[in-house]
């Protein structure tokens, strides 16, 4: 599968300047001003000049790139992003899902023009996917409408219209992480200027999200289901979420029922409190068509396992067997990060919206192997297969012989226990080695409540982590790696297979990452 050379998002100053402006750093002497260096495919970076900034290249890529293992377009690519290819739909049969009288009244405008349009859009979407009805939503929504470059104006206008008519989400909702962090990352004037220029509609978007029911900024996180954020509905709850990793975790680990919605559709569903019932919301749609038979001799690397699964099944539903022993029969706050890593990797390397883990996840605990359809396919994953996947990862650094320059952890956002783990691991190792600081900076991505949880429980450790060269930010890790110039000047390492897929960061297991941050070198046998 093709990989980009590096991810770009917002056009900002060179990465060396960005890093030095991270908390605790100092500006690099002689660093130039804000002008973007290096032309994008089509020209220079200034808006309105007829050329897109370099950073936008990142937006071309996602888990659904339609490419085969050889990196070329796959002629057999067929994915609707709803968990099912829907190859059996008869185009000659027009379809209209049945509506209740109340729903029809809304469509007919009896509750206002904006709500009518919301209903019409959601129904049209449901009809396209053969939804049999609309279902009431519970819990709370999660939205991936989180950043506002200029082209988002049209979407913002839609929800402004809704807000003007007093429409609100059926429940306060969470939103993806901030696309920037002016307090810990982009702290220099020229960096901040680039943020404001790149996201001119951000205040407008944040305002309209607030008006229609978004929770406060401190709750912004892709890991909305963590206890510190609290968007974790009960199993079986129908929700309409967006953000691939949250949908993946929600369906699989929480046992909620959601399709993988496009940004904007989840908010429309939130405004009527209903969503079309199809795909991953249905019993039939949650059946597994793959058995993943994990036969590793030790605990697998969860990110690599997820990648293997995602590549194999694309958007089908897999049933994973052979890993329940690593969970003691249940998902806890201490072990949930394993499924967070695996699941996000299935969604990034494939397009998996739901997986089952035998003996562990709610649907699998309830139904066991009855979740497998007749004629399911089997994929055996052993040590050799994981090694094959891991060994296939190319070095996408702009200089293959460079030394690692930073480590980032937290894509998706870290849990409290992950922060604690890394904090204790690093500080203890520094003591053992008689070192004061890491050789390269380590950035930890986590929501503010999760970071504060660590600070409250372990203030001394928190202090020591910062002194050691670890920093905290609540922005999106992928937006961070997409900072302009990042790929030319920085050579990142990470433990996130999702980040590996979407950026130039090199992926390593935790023990190797530890060695890297301690020494500033990649071990020869890594």
């Amino acid at each position: 599968m093709k990989r980009r050379e590096f991810v770009h998002t917002i056009g900002l100053v060179s990465a060396s300047g960005v890093l030095l402006s991270c908390e605790g750093g100092t500006p690099s002497p002689g660093r130039a001003g804000t002008a973007a260096s290096g032309a994008a495919q089509t020209g220079t970076s200034a808006s309105g000049t007829g050329a897109a900034p370099d950073w936008v290249r990142s937006l071309r890529d996602s888990d659904m790139d339609g490419l085969g293992p050889d990196g070329k377009p796959d002629p057999n690519y067929n994915a609707t992003r709803t968990g099912h290819a829907r190859a059996d739909v008869d185009p000659t049969q027009p379809y209209q899902m049945p509506l209740t009288q109340e729903e029809q009244d809304i469509m007919d405008g009896k509750k206002g023009d904006a709500l009518a349009k919301v209903m019409k859009t959601v129904v049209a979407f449901g009809n396209a996917f053969g939804a049999t009805k609309l279902v009431e939503l519970g819990g709370a929504p999660h939205s991936s409408v989180f950043n506002a470059p200029p082209f988002m104006k049209s979407i913002i206008d839609v929800f402004s219209t809704c807000a003007d008519e007093g429409l609100k989400s059926y429940a306060p909702f969470t939103v993806n992480p901030r696309p920037f962090d002016l307090y810990n990352v982009e702290t220099l004037p020229d960096e901040m200027a680039m943020v404001f220029e790149g996201y001119p509609l951000q205040p407008e978007l944040d305002y309209v999200l607030t008006r229609i029911g978004a929770r406060g900024m401190n709750s912004r996180s892709c890991a909305c289901y963590l206890s510190e954020i609290g968007n974790a509905p009960e199993p079986g709850t129908y929700v309409a979420w967006a953000e691939s990793s949250a949908v993946n975790f929600g369906n699989s680990v929480l046992g909620v029922r959601t399709n993988r919605n496009a940004g904007g559709m989840e908010l429309l569903c939130a405004l009527i409190g209903k969503a079309p019932y199809f795909g991953l919301m249905t019993d039939e749609g949650r059946m597994a068509t793959w058995l993943i038979d994990v036969r590793t001799t030790k605990e697998p690397d969860w990110g690599v396992l997820g990648a293997a699964i995602g590549i194999k099944v694309t958007e089908d539903v897999p049933f994973v067997a052979g890993v329940d022993k690593y969970f003691g029969g249940e998902v806890t706050k201490e072990n949930m990060h394993k499924l967070k890593a695996m699941g996000s990797s299935t969604a990034a390397n494939g397009a998996v919206g739901l997986y089952h883990v035998e003996g562990v996840t709610p649907d699998a605990k309830q139904k066991g192997r009855d979740l497998l359809v007749e004629g399911y396919q089997t994929y055996v994953v052993d040590d050799a297969e994981l090694e094959r996947i891991y060994s296939s990862y190319p070095n996408l650094w702009s200089r293959n012989d460079a030394k690692p320059s930073l480590c980032f952890i937290g894509c998706p956002h870290n849990t409290y226990h992950e922060l604690l783990y890394w904090g204790e691991l690093i500080t203890e190792e520094l003591k053992k080695r008689g070192q004061d600081k890491l050789k390269i900076p380590m950035h930890l991505f986590a929501s503010i409540p999760v970071r504060n949880h660590l600070l409250d429980d372990h203030p001394v450790l928190f202090r020591d982590m910062k002194r050691a060269g670890m920093s905290f930010t609540n922005m999106c890790a992928l937006m961070f790696t997409g900072l302009k110039g990042f790929g030319e000047s920085h050579f990142p390492v990470t433990n996130s297979n999702k980040a590996r897929k979407y950026s130039s960061a090199r992926y390593f297991p935790d023990d190797i990452l530890l060695e890297i941050v301690m020494t500033g070198e990649i071990p020869a046998d890594a």
Binding site: K2, A40, Q41, T42, A46, S47, G48, T49, G50, A51, A52, P53, V56, R57, L59, R60, S62, M64, D65, G66, P73, P75, Y77, N78, A79, T80, R81, T82, A85, R86, A87, V89, P91, T92, P94, K117, K120, T121, A124, F125, A128, P149, P150, F151, M152, K153, S154, I155, D157, V158, T161, A242, S244, R260, N261, A262, G263, G264, M265, L268
Partner: protein, 149 residues
């Protein structure tokens, strides 16, 4: 070429005649409109997806896009709305396979909220995409029939 007729599912029906713009590989919506979305280009829509050799650098404003499905970022729906607002979006999107959830959201939203219809037909079949070539005359009918040639 002899006229060939295909029947698909008219999700956003309409009648239209014009020339086909074909992407045999899935169309990456977000990647294709970078200059319009980010660089303020308003007089044309040069395809900016360098991974799509068929369309790269071609002006795809007002096109009748023929492809299998769309791929790329979940911003795809917002992207199509963005270029449509500029008057540069496609006039029609014809899919050989089932429409995907990302582009469908943007197309429906554009139709309902901005009252700008981008005629959309899916499930035209693999033979449709194998047959149609960029530049072919194409006639779209509201019942989901597409005539090529």
């Amino acid at each position: 070429m002899a006229k060939q007729t295909f029947k698909g599912r008219p999700l956003l029906p309409g009648d239209l005649e014009g020339e086909a713009t074909v992407s045999k590989q899935p169309f990456n919506t977000t990647a294709s409109y970078f200059d319009n979305m980010f660089a303020g280009v308003r007089d044309k829509a040069p395809c900016t997806d360098s991974d799509n050799p068929e369309l790269f650098r071609k002006d795809i404003a007002d096109c009748i896009m023929c492809t299998s499905q769309t791929i790329g970022s979940t911003f795809g729906g917002a992207a199509i709305m963005g270029v449509a607002e500029m008057g540069l979006g496609p006039r029609a999107m014809l899919f050989s396979r089932h429409i995907d959830s990302i582009i469908s959201a943007g197309l429906f939203m554009e139709d309902i909220w901005n009252e700008k219809r981008i005629i959309t037909i899916d499930l035209l079949g693999d033979e449709f995409l194998e047959t149609v070539q960029t530049g072919d005359p194409i006639a779209i009918h509201a019942d989901g029939t597409v005539e090529v040639g």
